[in-house]
Subunit: 360 residues, 4 copies
């Protein structure tokens, strides 16, 4: 709706003022004074497109490692990426929370559980195991690790070197919609085992196979870890197939996979979609806009994100967010690998998804 | 999480202040300073339980009818029930918007459409037709009328008497999640026909039958009107069956129906659940708490709502809202009829629903 | 596959005969001797199109009423329509069983239950109640009554006049696929009540409403009776809408409804689809072919069925079956009302459905 | 139903004979003369439990290789396992067809497609590629290869040695239900490429990942090959987890996986379920009965199948079938590996599945 259309207000008068006072007395607010804000012509997010540089984040995480203990109460040494448009909240978007988490040498983050869905994605480092409902899950570069709602989880660093990674959760959605529950667990992780593969992978990470002991569709993925070697290979194969003349890539020169719940082929968690994208050097995506908000982290390579017409040069570790309905495209200088997560399952499950290719 | 648990913060120091300044400079906010707020032990809504009296609402709506024109721009003479805990927003809950809408004699509200899902429920009056994508839908006492997302709709009052009703929409959800689209339609309603039954009812309001021309499951109900005669009869039958010794009621003395999408038996719209409840005189419900927010309007009779331990006497037309996880029960002095709507489909589709019976 | 293509067999020789004897000794049959039969170019049903005349059926049913008792053991005085192509089986098609059932004055058919799904459709008469799991369901002209698998059921005739109706079951499917279970119940019906409406209708026959006490999707319809008044009205409205210029009919001049499970909008039972079709006088359908078999009964009016190019004149009560992939169309001399049932849910759920409009 | 219960027939008389003649004249068959056969107390399959020995099958297949050409018309050198209870049909069960197929050195089986769903399972050998809609799929020991309905497929043997494997199809179901379509394709396979991995695996065989270019749920699995290395590892992990004290096996000492459609986690094809079972040496399963028919092939090891109380000693390659509702259990002398397929998806999708553990 244009601003003009919303400027037609009733003429001021003592009676109108009395009416408005009556509204205020009775906890009422008329629609006609705020329609344009309540019902815009298209999504007008308060969140803004924004880029965080890994080169800025990591030193601050390291400083936190020195100054801030991790333990019961604070629970996690996690530093949230706060979208400036959503101040004073630590929200990267209206639905998503994203943080860099840092665990010093030999440190442990105690166990707890919450209704919020969470994942971790590792852009560098190794040595940490996250223990999810008693199952120790190794965290290594390129891996996606899930902690769906209401699973106890804690982390331990088994090495003398610190490790940092990113966390993604649906905290803003949960907080605004009043759906959160939280419970403390053990002060230490419940197992110190450090297997290469979690039990969830030993049961579920076999392509096209499921254990006969677990035949129901589950709300969230029973597979807790998605390993870089599989992701990398899937993307490589798509680009190879394209070179050989077969379908497989998402767009020309643009390979992409979605991480899915192997019990039903749907999203890994009911509120968060996770994907991985790879562009050939020199490639670029179409200029798209979608309902819902998204976050990318560069995993490898160099390129440019053009968001709402503004170009941002990107390097490994850089994170950026794109609010709802803001047009964006990617350009690759080198082979360009990006991890992506979004709130698309919320939009799709509630019937609000729209997407469009924007012509210049 | 207890407050104490959240009081363990790092010791103040110049280095810590420098770190926090670094966070601020880089649009970062640490988790450990706000965990209790971000991840409470259970939902801690800002919204509060609140009751609006029909005896207060209606005169203000009538005064608006005199002072505020309805037409292009303002679009609707709708007065939103604003939860005091959510000020300055006109939200009755974090997801739901609820208003009393008022149309004067012979007035017309112009057509528009929006991604937001809407319904109207009529507690008194008659004479208005809402035109939904060209289908004129009569609005009479006790009827539930749907305007699912992105359908053009306008209203016309065909009588010399004014009419008021309540509107329910998912505006707060849409606004916070950035999913709204809006488009103006015709300045007048696109048809002046005033049939007893809408075309949607002529196709879909036959129990257990669907037209062979429309076999897909649709996101929202293709049936646009749910008539009081059917609702009343369904509730009467449940109580009669109970008297005869058969199952049918929801709780003893408590009949209840859900309004559903006849194409799939699910909720009428993807974000809003609509129900009707009837208690026998003297009856009462269990004390329940549920994730998600809800609104009731008394349609008939007298009774009491006990919300979070506080009793509220209620009469016809009174509206009240119950935020997420707040315990509530109802007691009936007379036969007690209540219309209810809620955001339960959001909670269920996203895996957040929990419900519990609270023992005193 | 053409016959020629299948005539290429290995040259006869003593070694080949010895090989074939070896096959026989080891319970083996080679594919190459019978491929054309096993895997035809398109469905080549043994069942044939066939018409049974009500004028022939009813007198035989009446004679049975005099000569054949109904009671424990025989269970039902039901006379199956046996497709001549499927002799010696009493199958109307490879999946469906259809019979005329006859109950004399004041007679009772004892209770039993079976895994097979059943319905009754009433082309004339009244006075019988079928008792389904203790719920007495009135049977009157034009009504469709369900007995989904494993529900106890018996019938009683409350009048001094006999009554006949048709039964439809998935007996041939069950028998060939080895899925049948059967259990005797009470020798008399478990209730002699004769209410106008069954309890299933009192709970479920309210358009767009479902009881809050029953929110799950059920395998078969919880609504046991679909009344003629609703069916007739739904068809009338579709033709009226067409006259007014609105969508609603299935084809021009051809109104049609599907009977559905109100808990999910799908077919009333997992193996049997039920529909009702009405053609305007002078109207005709397209010439269609579909995978799966179907049965029609003329309910009212006169017309012609053209099946595989052969015309059959039809009157009230006449029944006809169309095997898989056989082209058919209907022509109406008067307004022409037909009840239809088929095995389409089997075909759709197992991915075998195909349908086509056949141009002459 | 007991036989006695069904012996109560009307008394013979001239009138009854006339009535029965009338039935015959009008293509009618009364229910009361055949109820026990049509509606048994529980499934009474004509199919019988039966064992085929690999030691018998393979020489006959080899003899066929010498005497019977493979080519257009006969299409395949496949020898069907014909259940003696279902003579004269080449059905292993009422729904399933199972054959040993044999391809001589350098031979090719021409391309065709059919509505019937098919798979191949390889108990020994290598060197054949099956080409499915142009995608060459290697066939090696332990692999399961799919050819869902209506995909063109042919086979070529690239080696100087012959190869044999088993085929499983839903031919009996398709033939009896009249759902089959067939079309000839190229006389030669459409590609002579012999890659280690098919294109379907390169796109889909990555655990928990799906290509973004293919997001819909498909009727049958888009993954055409399930490799032995994955199956073996999944079974090994289950038994290891059991040893470590964690859940994972289906029964104690009994590991099992289901082959699934990675687009939705359901069965690989709409009519056929495929599984792999492994028992520890000395282990045994419970004695179960299920609705529907099944076929096992021993892949490795020695053991015993006890079917309806009769013990059958089994070795590698042996095949056996268990009809509907017949109790069975397995005992392992050595580690005992078995491939299994069944019609369970038919039973489940149509609401007929029942299963029970039978106590001795």
């Amino acid at each position: 709706m244009t601003d003009d259309a919303h400027n037609s207000q009733p003429d001021d008068s003592p009676e109108l003022r009395q009416l408005y006072q009556g509204f205020a007395d009775q906890s009422l607010i008329p629609l006609w004074t705020q329609l344009g804000d309540l019902m815009p012509e298209h999504p007008k997010p308060k969140a803004i497109p924004y880029v965080w540089r890994w080169a800025d984040l990591l030193p601050l995480a390291e400083a936190s490692g020195r100054l801030v203990p991790v333990g019961r109460g604070g629970e996690r040494r996690a530093i949230g990426l706060a979208n400036p448009g959503l101040a004073p909240h630590a929200y990267i978007s209206p639905t998503l929370w994203c943080a860099i988490q840092y665990l010093g040498p030999r440190e442990t983050a105690p166990e707890h559980r919450h209704a919020q869905n969470a994942f971790r994605f590792v852009v560098e480092g190794e040595g940490v195991w996250t223990v999810v409902d008693g199952d120790p899950v190794r965290m290594s570069r390129g891996d996606l690790l899930l902690t769906p709602g209401w699973r106890f989880h804690g982390h331990q660093n088994t090495l003398e070197a610190p490790m940092a990674w990113i966390d993604g959760l649906d905290i803003p959605f949960s907080q605004q919609m009043d759906v959160g529950f939280f419970e403390f667990g053990a002060d230490e992780v419940s197992t110190r085992e450090t297997p290469i593969l979690s039990r969830s992978e030993r049961l579920w990470a076999h392509p096209g196979l499921r254990p006969l002991s677990s035949l129901e569709s589950s709300v969230s993925s029973p597979l807790a870890a998605f390993r870089w070697q599989h992701t990398d290979r899937a993307l490589t194969e798509q680009l190879d197939l394209e070179k050989e003349g077969y379908p497989g890539t998402f767009d020309p020169g643009h390979a992409a996979i979605r991480f899915v719940n192997p019990s039903n082929g749907g999203d890994v968690m009911p509120t968060i979609r996770c994907e991985f994208h790879r562009l050939r050097a020199g490639g670029q995506t179409e200029n798209r806009q979608e309902v819902g908000s998204t976050v990318f982290q560069v995993f490898n390579g160099r390129g440019v994100a053009i968001i709402d017409g503004v170009s941002h040069s990107l390097e490994t570790g850089d994170l950026f967010t794109i609010p709802s309905w803001v047009p964006w495209s990617l350009q690759a200088e080198t082979q360009f690998d990006l991890f992506r997560f979004s709130d698309a399952p919320i939009m799709e499950r509630l019937g609000f998804m729209r997407q469009d290719v924007v012509k210049e």
